[in-house]
Structure formats: structure tokens, C-alpha cells
């Protein structure tokens, strides 16, 4: 783990870390990665990963409309909106 890797991960996660906390985060990540890295010593040859304890894929259902249009309710939580849309600042002239 170094500053460059931390910068790349931060960008991938769309996060930025305060300058004064950067070193602490780098150290913390290193400690946690070291903890996780310990799994490398366990033999998992031919072991299928277990992505969910239920081991079933998501159930499918018919695509039927079963609730009313709740546009106003959902727009109420938007940081900025007009009557019909979520609004973001204009970035393209």
C-alpha cells in the first residue's frame, strides 16, 4: 500500500481523504489488507465460492406494475428538483 494506490482506490470509490488523515488511512488499509491477506494460507483448491448463504439466484417475477406513480414523493428527497426532474448543476455549455 502506498500513496499512489490509495489515490487510485479513492478515485475509483469517488472519495477524497483529507491531507491530515491520508497517512492514517494508508496505515489502516495496510493493517486490514494484512489481516485479509492471511486467508492466502488456507487451501481452497476446488472449493466453489459461497456468494450467499442461500445459494440461490435471485427469484424472478412477472413485470407487472403494482404501485402508483409516486413521482412527487420521490422528488421530495432530491437535493434539487423541479416538478418533473432531478436537477444537477449545468456543466456543459
Amino acid at each position: 500500500m502506498d500513496q499512489e494506490i490509495v489515490r487510485t482506490i479513492c478515485y475509483l470509490a469517488r472519495l477524497e481523504i483529507d491531507e491530515d488523515k491520508a497517512q492514517k488511512i494508508e496505515k489502516d488499509l495496510e493493517t486490514i489488507i494484512e489481516l485479509i491477506g492471511g486467508l492466502g494460507s488456507i487451501d481452497t483448491t476446488n472449493i466453489e465460492p459461497l456468494y450467499s448463504p442461500l445459494e440461490k439466484t435471485a427469484l424472478k417475477h412477472e413485470d407487472i406494475l403494482n404501485s402508483d406513480n409516486q413521482k412527487e414523493k420521490f422528488l421530495q428527497n432530491a437535493p434539487h428538483s423541479n416538478d418533473d426532474y432531478f436537477l444537477v448543476p449545468r456543466f456543459v455549455e
Binding site: 489481516l35 448463504p53 437535493p79
Partner: protein, 486 residues
């Protein structure tokens, strides 16, 4: 007669015999919440609507449901329609959900009254309730000490006797560990038993909702109502939900309890060990048999969890982008800057740390070494449990390696120190198994918890064992001295 420290069944009796009306009960509940405000266990109160619902219940005279008129707290991670839901994060500071979580709807339809939203670790990431944007929750047993986490507000509110029960969620121990630290009972059901719809997701393959209450019997009553197939959650189990209160008094004669060899209980604090031995003796006196079992990969459960949970968290929390809901930064330079600044201002340090770990574990070149590897080890851990349950019915462990600790004393230098708090609880989440924590005494005047892990969908057995323990002991009746919080 005071309502403080009363169980659901005791309050039911008071309501049925007209010792108190629903409205009086709710008003007294808010008085208690206000009296012990310094615990900081609630983020948002729901006073007006609660009193209104109670008055309606009084008028209709309808108390057919055990939960009718019973005040409950909802962890602030469950969406509650029209009632602010923050996940204890600045990110959702003003979020008013347009719908309620299925678990909440089930409880409210049974007549219970949501009196408020309980404080928690931010986005349920923590074991001490020290990561909340709204500040630390105090343990009712000792001011300045943690209540455990992440459902710390729920546990503290129940332990303080303000409410008889509250909901929680458990991703790695977040119901059981705070229940243990606060001297109450809490159960994490089998993965899929309770719908996750409307729960703000942390790690989707591990998260499961459950109740925290004063007794195992109350937990059975609540879990009966919370459970059930929900087509809106694609991982919700479509199984029969037997009435869990029916089996509470089954005899324990011949029931086989496993003690995990690899947990090296000899390394624990000697008083914690003594409590454990004494509880084992109590169970033996009730006819249970004990044998040693081996879970060979159990020591890998903490690193496995801290690869999988952050990976799922980094994916789930990518929805918080400042566009449709949640915090948005002021004056961004461009769209990327809007995402980065909104997320960086909205999330606290622990949440950021976990998103970064998860992003790293899922990134090209590391995916196989960290994420896939952890999911393979997870299968080994699940296989170990399957083998163990061929020879035992239940597995008994301490809930937590230690009692509650002071604010800021664990994890500030090294986050892994705090992650090890979850040593005994994490494996049940990885394998999707039900597990309960019950109080079984105090060490240095702080409660300690006993954990019972059950086989898949055998909540009936762990609730039965927990209930008979409580019928034959008085640890669940212990009350903290609340003078410091008045």
C-alpha cells in the same frame, strides 16, 4: 405503577387489565425517553403520530394482537414512511422515506407503535456505536462506556427500560453484541427469515433484521410478526413460519450442545470463563448434554468477513451520489467533483475506510486474491457448521470476548482491534445461521452475554433454550442504576 423495565407481556397485562391506557403508556414512554435523553439512544422521535395511534387503539378497544399499543423503537436503518431515516449519517440527514420496510410494516400492522428511530453506528459499520453522526450512545450500565454496536441505540433504549423492545440488524454481530453489552436479549434470525426490503443495505449477503428485547419470550413474539416471505426481497425465504412461542417450554432433556474447541475459552478473562462454566452447569441441570466440537476454519471468520462485508458495502453505498437523495455538496466544479465532494462530505471515517477496503478487494488484480478467496473460505466455514450440526443441536459460545469498554479506548489506533470484538458472532452471518444472545451475569458490574447458535431455520431451538435459561435464572431481570443519566 411505572412502565420502566417492563417486558412486552407485562405491558400487555397492564393494558388488558386497564391499569393503563394505550395513550397513557405512550405518553409515559416519551417521558422516560426525555428523562434519559443523555443516553442519546434516539435520533428522531415520533411523538405526535404515536399518541394519535394510541388514542385510536383506546377508542377502538381492539387489543386482539399481543403487540397492540406496545411502544417499539426502530433502528434508524429501517425505512419508515414519512419519518426521517438517517442511518446515523450526515449523508441521509434529511431523508424522509416514501415507504416503510416490510419488517416495520409487519410490526405496525400488528398494532405496535413506532415511538422513534434509534441511534446506531453510521450505516451499521461499527461495534461500539462510536461512528454515529449524531454522537455516541452511552451504555445504561455505565456512563462513558459503549453500548456495543451497531444497534447500540436500540440496545441502550431497551436496557434503560424506556421501551420493552426494538428492532436491530445484524451483519456481523450488530444485534447480539450490543444485547450482550447492555444485558438484554437479542436474536439474529436465519438469513432470509425476515425481509430485507426497506432496510438500508450494508452487506446484502450478511444483513439480517431481528428484535432486541428484555426476554427470549418477547423475542419469539416479535420474530413471529417480523418474519414471513416477501416477494419484494428476492432472498426472502418462502418457508412455513411456525409459531415460535409454542416450543418455548419444550424439555431440553437430551438436547446436545457443542462447545467450540478452537475458541480457546481458556484465553478469556477468568470471570467471563466462570460465567460460561456456570451457565453450562445450569443447562446440564436442565438435561442438556455437552460435547466438544471442531470448527477447523473458524479462526478465518474475521478476515473472511472483513473482505466480504466491505466489498458488498462499497457496491451498496455507490448509490449515494448526491443526485436523487441524500447530501449534495455546494458549488462542484464538474460532475465527478459533485460525486466526490458529496460522498466525502456525507460519509464518516469508518464508512470511508470500509468503502476503500471493499473497492480495493474488488479491483482488477486483487479480486481473486481477496474477494473470491474470502468467499471460498466462507464455504469452508459453512461446511464446518454443517458437519458440527450432524452431532449437536446447538452451539454455545460467549457473545463477546469482553464486557463493554470506555469511549475511544478500542480501535482508534488500530481498527482491527475493534474488529476482533466480533470474533464469536461473525461466523453465524457468514453461514446464514440463527443465533441469540442472552444475559448471563455481570463482570465488574457490566453485563456479559451468552450466545447460542442454531442450525438453519432452527430459531425454535435457540429460543426454547434461551427461554428455559431465563425461567431458571434471574440474569435477564438485572437492571442498571440510571441515576447518572437523569
Amino acid at each position: 405503577m411505572s412502565i420502566q423495565f417492563k417486558s412486552i407481556l407485562e405491558l400487555r397485562e397492564m393494558l388488558d387489565t386497564k391499569v393503563i391506557s394505550s395513550e397513557e403508556l405512550i405518553q409515559e414512554t416519551f417521558q422516560l425517553a426525555s428523562r434519559f435523553k443523555s443516553l442519546n439512544c434516539f435520533v428522531t422521535m415520533n411523538e405526535e403520530a404515536s399518541i394519535q395511534k394510541a388514542a385510536q387503539i383506546d377508542q377502538s378497544g381492539n387489543s386482539k394482537s399481543t403487540l397492540s399499543g406496545i411502544p417499539l423503537g426502530q433502528k434508524d436503518l429501517f425505512c419508515t414512511e414519512g419519518l426521517r431515516t438517517t442511518c446515523s449519517s450526515k449523508m441521509l440527514f434529511n431523508f424522509i422515506p416514501p415507504y416503510s420496510a416490510t419488517a416495520v410494516t409487519n410490526l405496525e400492522s400488528a398494532g405496535s407503535i413506532t415511538i422513534g428511530k434509534t441511534n446506531m453506528d453510521e450505516f451499521a459499520m461499527g461495534s461500539s456505536n462510536e461512528t454515529s453522526y449524531f454522537g455516541n450512545v452511552h451504555n445504561p450500565w455505565k456512563k462513558g462506556f459503549v453500548p456495543g454496536g451497531s444497534s447500540g441505540g436500540s440496545a441502550a433504549a431497551v436496557a434503560a427500560g424506556i421501551i420493552p423492545a426494538a428492532t436491530g440488524t445484524d451483519t456481523g454481530g450488530s444485534i447480539r453484541q450490543p444485547a450482550a453489552h447492555c444485558g438484554i436479549t437479542g436474536i439474529k434470525p436465519t438469513y432470509g427469515r425476515v425481509s430485507r426490503w426497506g432496510m438500508i443495505a450494508f452487506a446484502s449477503s450478511l444483513d439480517q433484521a431481528g428484535p432486541l428485547a428484555r426476554t427470549a419470550e418477547d423475542c419469539a413474539i416479535l420474530l413471529n410478526i417480523m418474519s414471513g416471505h416477501d416477494p419484494k426481497d428476492t432472498t426472502s425465504l418462502d418457508v412455513e413460519n411456525n409459531d415460535l412461542t409454542q416450543s418455548l417450554n419444550n424439555s431440553l432433556k437430551g438436547l446436545k450442545f457443542g462447545i467450540v474447541k478452537e475458541f480457546n475459552l481458556g484465553d478469556l478473562d477468568s470471570e467471563v470463563q466462570k460465567r460460561f462454566e456456570s451457565s453450562k452447569a445450569l443447562y446440564e441441570s436442565l438435561g442438556a448434554e455437552f460435547m466438544e466440537i471442531s470448527l477447523p476454519n473458524i479462526s478465518a471468520s474475521v478476515p473472511t468477513y472483513y473482505s466480504i462485508a466491505p466489498a458488498e458495502c462499497s457496491s451498496n453505498l455507490s448509490r449515494f451520489d448526491g443526485i436523487k437523495f441524500g447530501h449534495r455538496t455546494e458549488h462542484p466544479k464538474d460532475l465527478t467533483d459533485l460525486y466526490i465532494k458529496s460522498r466525502s462530505e456525507g460519509f464518516g471515517d469508518e464508512v470511508k475506510r470500509r468503502i476503500l477496503i471493499g473497492t480495493y478487494a474488488l479491483s482488477a488484480g486483487y479480486y481473486d486474491a481477496y474477494y473470491k478467496k474470502a468467499q471460498q473460505v466462507r464455504r469452508l466455514i459453512k461446511n464446518d457448521f454443517e458437519n458440527a450440526f450432524n452431532s449437536v443441536d446447538l452451539i454455545m459460545t460467549p457473545t463477546s470476548p469482553s464486557t463493554a469498554f470506555g469511549f475511544g479506548t478500542k480501535g482508534s489506533q488500530n481498527p482491527v482491534e475493534l474488529y476482533l470484538e466480533d470474533l464469536f458472532t461473525i461466523s453465524a452471518n457468514l453461514a446464514g445461521l440463527p443465533a441469540i444472545s442472552i444475559p448471563h451475569g455481570t463482570v465488574n458490574s457490566l453485563p456479559v452475554g451468552l450466545q447460542l447458535i442454531g442450525n438453519f431455520l432452527r430459531e425454535d431451538q435457540i429460543l426454547n433454550a434461551a427461554h428455559l435459561f431465563q425461567k431458571n435464572s434471574e440474569f435477564h431481570l438485572m437492571k442498571p442504576n440510571m441515576e447518572d443519566f437523569e
